[in-house]
């Protein structure tokens, strides 16, 4: 028996040692990204073409910043934060590395989006982001059961007790502010004004709480709630609405009256990226129109790749046009960069909403 114990112990030691000693096989690219932005198919094609292995970690804006803050900008080789969240995080925590634009094939990218992103992600004259996927936040509504919902505030309407879901994150605050007739973006530079707006929103959200089934945090959670009928309306991303629409015609994405919130997710290099070349290769690879099309099909959102939409299924285009009549496209509110300090105020509002009963 003693021998078997020794064997067990030695076996464990061996496993542990092998795990340590075994070198990282091929070159790897560690992606910190959103669900759907790196579909299996695309990864496989990239691996075949370059021999670089891709390892993907699903994440969201806050999580990306917090992970990179904790690692001091290491642990990942390429991240995909939204363009408005880059500069403040960079200023505070120094977690990104400037992009070498000469290594980006700019000809593949829609120039207006590239220019806008460049502008919004510049700090001290250095550019930290390149656009990738863009989309909007708005309403996902089960038209049969909650057809009356046209704007964010309608989520708090009567007869919806325990039937709606949204995130407890800053887009919700911004969206509600717009639908309550305020312009939070204009108040970005005026802290006092901004706080006043948020106070109003906070009250609204607390009053709204009985209507909430759950605060979703990941896209799939929202999809499941809507699909199972446990929720009939949600504040969510357009892509989620369209995905649901494919299976259940009653559910679709609706651009709210006060305007959908437009976001652009970017490519940003963590400061201590270990595979910078691979990261550039990946960026140039996924911005190819046919690859961009595949990503759009998987994520449900359009990309900043020139001509990417030719490869997108007609169904999605039709859904987009249905949700966004031309006037609504013009009405999209694009996020300006968040000045530092605002998120702290927002955080407290969110906490208070969460805690209210």
């Amino acid at each position: 028996m003693r021998r078997s114990f020794k064997k067990l112990f030695i076996a464990m030691l061996a496993v542990a040692l092998v795990a340590v000693v075994s070198p990282v096989e091929a070159e790897t690219l560690r992606l910190l990204t959103w669900g759907g932005y790196a579909p299996k198919e695309v990864i496989e094609q990239f691996e075949k073409e370059t021999g670089i292995e891709v390892k993907m970690t699903k994440s969201n804006n806050e999580d990306m910043i917090s992970k990179l803050k904790a690692t001091g900008g290491s642990g990942f080789d390429l991240a995909q934060p939204s363009q408005d969240r880059i500069t403040s995080a960079q200023a505070d925590f120094d977690i990104y590395k400037p992009i070498d634009l000469s290594k980006i094939d700019a000809s593949q990218i829609i120039p207006s989006m590239l220019a806008a992103t460049k502008k919004n992600t510049s700090l001290d004259g250095k550019v930290y982001g390149v656009p990738h996927v863009w989309g909007t936040s708005g309403l996902v509504v089960n038209r049969k059961m909650a057809g009356q919902i046209k704007d964010y505030v309608d989520l708090c309407g009567p007869g919806l007790t325990g039937k709606v879901t949204y995130r407890l994150k800053r887009p919700t605050l911004i969206g509600f502010a717009f639908s309550m007739g305020e312009d939070p973006f204009a108040a970005y530079s005026d802290k006092a004004k901004y706080e006043m707006i948020l106070d109003k929103v906070e009250k609204k959200l607390i009053d709204c709480k009985p209507n909430v089934k759950a605060y979703w945090s990941g896209g799939d959670a929202m999809l499941n709630l809507m699909r199972s009928g446990e929720a009939v309306a949600a504040m969510a991303w357009d892509a989620g609405g369209w995905k649901l629409n494919k299976d259940m015609a009653d559910i679709t994405f609706v651009a709210p009256k006060s305007g959908a919130l437009g976001w652009i997710d970017t490519f940003a290099l963590p400061r201590k990226t270990k595979a910078e070349e691979a990261a550039y290769k990946w960026i140039n690879f996924v911005m190819r129109p046919e690859i961009a099309g595949k990503i759009t099909s998987s994520a449900g959102n359009f990309t900043a790749a020139k001509g990417g939409d030719q490869y997108v299924a007609d169904k999605l285009k039709a859904q987009f046009q249905e949700s966004f009549p031309p006037a609504d496209v013009d009405n999209i509110k694009w996020y300006p960069p968040v000045p530092p300090g605002l998120e702290e105020i927002e955080g407290k509002v969110l906490d208070r909403v969460k805690a209210a009963q």
Partner: protein
């Protein structure tokens, strides 16, 4: 209220029913998890759509089975490696600690003993957070001073192991100390008297005697590491252990593949439990 004291049939009956209900309470959630691993539905919920093994074996989305779900399999691998390291490190230190506190006399021993026990009353979250904060402080300082990144101090497997090691050691120490306390130290003296050096005496006499405790503690360490969530969550890097991977999916409302993983875990734990029972009941000297 013991069998030798008679009590009414009614009392005994009620008592037995109560205990029975308790065990139903204990077993139900686990049984349910296991059963729904075989439900042919996209959600781990009613209605029952008939049995299937798809959640183990199916090769394609959307009903991707466990054995083809690379992410889950990889996270099991990560958990396994982490658990191995944690177990080894905790056992080694815990054995040292047991000898330190049971055998040695030194000033401040009581204080150190209490400090040794403190991880039991530090919430796992805080332990994780504090280790994260401290390791980044050091790593940032090293980067400033020497322009060198101490990568192992950044969130990742090493830090996860360290974090788990911090509190699992205490538990292992308690298990091993309890056994060492019962150990007749004259056996060790006898060994030295028969010509063994102190180290040889410990290796040939004391450690074999501690073996059941070491195996028991090892299994406990392994399981605690494998199951840990709170501390790990704060320290995890790009390689997610199983609990973190499962939590990420659970938040999103995952498919019954999670039931499949859970069932697998239950079976594996059951086997470990049997091993430990087997070793504990083993007669000394065989």
């Amino acid at each position: 209220m013991i069998p030798t004291i008679s009590s009414s049939l009614y009392f005994r009956g009620t008592y037995a029913v109560y205990v029975g209900l308790f065990f139903i309470f204990l077993i139900t959630p686990l049984t349910v998890v296991g059963i729904f691993a075989f439900n042919d539905s996209m959600f781990p919920s009613m209605p029952w759509n008939g049995g299937t093994l798809a959640w183990f074996l199916n090769e394609t989305e959307p009903q991707l089975g466990l054995f083809h779900d690379e992410d889950l399999l990889e996270s099991i691998g990560v958990s396994f490696v982490v658990a191995c390291f944690t177990t080894i490190a905790s056992l080694v230190l815990a054995t040292c600690n047991a000898f330190l506190f049971e055998r040695e006399q030194f000033p401040g021993k009581n204080l150190l003993y209490i400090l040794m026990l403190t991880p039991l009353v530090i919430p796992g979250v805080i332990l994780g957070v504090s280790i994260l904060a401290f390791s980044s402080t050091i790593a940032n300082w090293a980067e400033m001073q020497f322009d060198y990144d101490l990568e192992f101090l950044r969130p990742g497997i090493t830090l996860v192991v360290l974090g788990q090691f911090a509190f699992i050691t205490t538990i292992a120490t308690l298990v091993i100390s309890a056994r060492l306390r019962k150990f007749d130290s004259s056996l060790e003296e006898a060994a030295m008297n028969l010509g063994a050096t102190r180290i040889a005496a410990v290796m040939t006499v004391t450690l074999p005697d501690l073996k059941p405790a070491l195996i028991g503690a090892g299994i406990v360490c392994f399981l605690m590491s494998f199951e840990n969530f709170n501390t790990t969550l704060m320290l995890v890097g790009s390689d997610a252990p199983l609990t973190i991977a499962m939590f990420d999916r659970l938040k999103e409302g995952s498919t019954p593949v999670l039931n499949a993983v859970s069932l697998l875990l239950m079976v594996a734990s059951g086997v470990l439990a049997l091993i430990s029972v087997f070793f504990q009941s083993e007669k000394p000297g065989s």
